[in-house]
């Protein structure tokens, strides 16, 4: 799998390259600035891009902007955005085109190499990987508030994991229930969020969007 990596801190960039290569990814470009990233994304057509939000020369959200532009030019280009902080605002912008293949994780998540690599693979295959912190922010502000769209507590739990981008199998393992039960919960959730029937992956992205929007 061909990866373009953008991270301005040498230590982190180097570490990420080594980690990705250890898991059989081919890092076709490891760049340190926004313009370099834009060029690499346009010319190398990677299978997935791993991008730091803040990049030189402006040290604003240049990485995110490059990623969004590249996705506008090539819809569905898988992008996993890494950041020292997570904001719902950015999560919404990434998910807004509804085409999936996006991830948004705290940099801390690279500590767990296997989970991180799993997230990269998920994003590359068109899924989503939302940081649990984004979801936690949503939940904390909903504390004591009316339950969202009439979801049961169990459905909320399932929704949280769906929002993180977990597969039904992973959710089943986490909640210690059967996959069939998970599938039942998710179809109930999609129904309550009034999502039109479509393929499952796309609906999951839409569910996350709806989930964020109701916050």
């Amino acid at each position: 799998m061909r990866v373009v990596l953008a991270e301005d801190l040498f230590l982190l960039r180097d570490g990420l390259v080594r980690m990705l290569e250890a898991f059989d990814f081919e890092v076709v470009a490891a760049v340190a600035s926004g313009p370099e990233l834009s060029r690499a994304l346009a010319e190398l057509e990677p299978d997935v891009a791993v991008v730091d939000v803040r990049l030189p020369p402006s040290f604003t959200d240049e990485g995110l902007q490059c990623a969004l532009r590249a996705r506008a030019a090539r819809p569905g280009l898988p992008v996993l955005v890494l950041s020292q902080h997570v904001e719902q605002l950015y999560a919404r912008e990434l998910l807004a085109d509804g085409s999936g293949g996006v991830g948004y994780l705290l940099k801390d998540r690279v500590f767990d190499a296997e989970q991180f690599v799993e997230a990269v693979r998920r994003v590359a295959s068109g899924g989503t990987a939302m940081d649990p912190q984004v979801i936690a922010q949503l939940l904390s502000r909903r504390a004591g508030d009316r339950p969202m769209a009439g979801l049961t507590p169990r459905e909320v739990e399932v929704m949280e994991l769906v929002a993180q981008g977990r597969s039904n199998a992973a959710i089943a393992a986490r909640l210690v229930i059967t996959e069939r039960a998970v599938a039942k919960h998710t179809s109930n959730i999609f129904g309550k969020l009034a999502l039109p029937p479509s393929d499952d992956d796309n609906r999951r992205v839409l569910a996350v969007l709806a989930y964020l929007d109701r916050g």
């Binding site: 040290f59 020292q84 902080h85 904001e87 719902q88 605002l89 500590f111 922010q137």
Partner: protein
């Protein structure tokens, strides 16, 4: 070059007399008329308008004073409260603010003085030059034409008493000497006279200095307290965790061959410590300078903040460009405080934040549909956490010459407006 300076001062004085004094006459008449109309109410609408013209007229004189004579005349008008509406109601309040401002009355007095003494001082340089030259040349002119005194306003005096013709050049030379010595000074005197009336009196400057001293002390106190908090958070949080991590890793190095299972457990613990240290640093950074503020500026930072509130918050932003970092930061934290305040105390279901740039000022309005009754309580007056929260915001804005006004009738709704100059 002294001759040139003399002539330039004379020309400038003449121009000033013609152009400026005409304005003073018209404005004096208009202002007095408008004040008279106050009796029948119409004046409420016209007075702010003509007083604003008068201020512009005075401002023009301030500009000339500095450009022509290097005299600085500071302006010191009272600011209008924020959120003045158009229409008669707003105009009435504008009128009240202007009429209560001592600067308005000093300006009116200046118009009167400007028309008498000011006019004389402005005309004197040109008069000295013209009449001086006239008297010096009088004998020649009279010799050639037989007359000439009429032009200088002395009639046939020098024709009737030819001996005076000998005195005339001496008088003229004296006047020219005065012009040569004093013309720029006369022009300066004109502007100094204006400064007496147009500059804010020392007392107001002293007020301003007192206020700056107070807000500076607040700012220094606040930043010192902030630094102490950061130091404590780092010391008790991230630093302590890094020490624990280092110790765990030291033990791991010793155990890695003897007891791999225990070593593995310790590595796991070290990783947890590093994750916690990161989380604490992240919170700390958010408190110092929120990353979204650095990355996107005030508008998106407030939007991100709104997304984290338990109460739905609607944000509208009309800012043409990024503001300076200190203003962004001050406004961001003030909005944060106001939102927390509204969510905690007002019982509102809905909050609206509006950010816009108006006349070189950042105006932030936070409205909620809660129960109202909020006010900025003076220190020591009690009034609960809400009032003291607002007071804290007002104090911190003071450093930026910002103002905070609260409109919160009992029963709501509440509207808090902040204005910070950010030209």
């Amino acid at each position: 070059m002294r001759v040139r300076r003399t002539l330039v001062a004379a020309a400038r004085g003449l121009a000033l007399a013609v152009a400026a004094e005409a304005g003073s006459v018209v404005l004096l008449v208009l202002v007095l008329l408008s004040l008279a109309l106050l009796v029948i109410g119409v004046g409420v609408l016209t007075t702010p308008v003509v007083l604003t013209w008068a201020r512009r007229h005075a401002d023009l004189r301030r500009v000339w004073a500095h450009a022509l004579s290097g005299v600085r005349i500071p302006a010191g008008y009272r600011p209008f409260p924020p959120g003045l509406r158009r229409g008669p109601a707003g105009q009435w309040r504008r009128c009240a603010v202007m009429l209560r401002d001592p600067a308005t009355w000093r300006e009116l007095l200046w118009l009167v003085v400007d028309l008498s003494v000011g006019l004389a001082l402005a005309l004197l340089p040109a008069t000295l030059v013209v009449y001086g030259a006239g008297f010096v040349l009088l004998p020649v002119v009279q010799g050639l034409t037989g007359a000439g005194g009429e032009l200088l306003g002395v009639g046939s005096l020098t024709v009737d008493h030819p001996l005076l013709l000998l005195v005339a050049p001496v008088l003229g030379a004296g006047m020219l000497w005065l012009a040569w010595r004093g013309n720029p000074a006369l022009l300066r005197a004109h502007f100094r006279l204006a400064a007496v009336f147009l500059a804010p009196p020392q007392a107001e400057l002293a007020d301003r200095v007192a206020r700056l001293t107070e807000t500076r002390a607040d700012a220094v106190d606040a930043s010192a307290a902030e630094l102490r908090r950061i130091e404590r958070d780092l010391h008790d949080g991230a630093q302590a965790r890094l020490v624990a991590m280092g110790m765990d890793l030291g033990v791991v190095a010793a155990l890695i061959e003897k007891d791999p299972a225990r070593a593995k457990e310790l590595v796991g613990r070290a990783r947890e410590s590093s994750a916690e240290a990161l989380a604490e640093l992240r919170d700390l950074v958010r408190g110092i300078h929120p990353p979204v503020l650095a990355e996107r500026g005030l508008g998106d930072a407030v939007r991100a903040l709104a997304l984290r509130m338990a109460v739905p918050v609607e944000v509208t932003v009309e800012l043409p460009r990024r503001l300076t970092a200190p203003v962004e930061s001050a406004a961001y934290f003030a909005v944060g405080e106001l939102l927390t305040n509204a969510a905690k105390h007002s019982g509102a279901d809905r909050i609206a934040v509006d950010l816009r740039h108006v006349d070189g000022r950042l105006r932030v309005t936070v409205r909620d549909d809660g129960r109202g009754g909020a006010a900025v309580r003076p220190a020591g007056a009690g009034g609960g956490a809400e009032g003291s929260g607002l007071r804290g915001v007002a104090r911190r804005l003071g450093t930026f010459d910002g103002v905070l006004t609260v409109d919160s009738p009992a029963g709501g709704p509440t509207s808090v407006t902040m204005e910070i100059p950010c030209a």
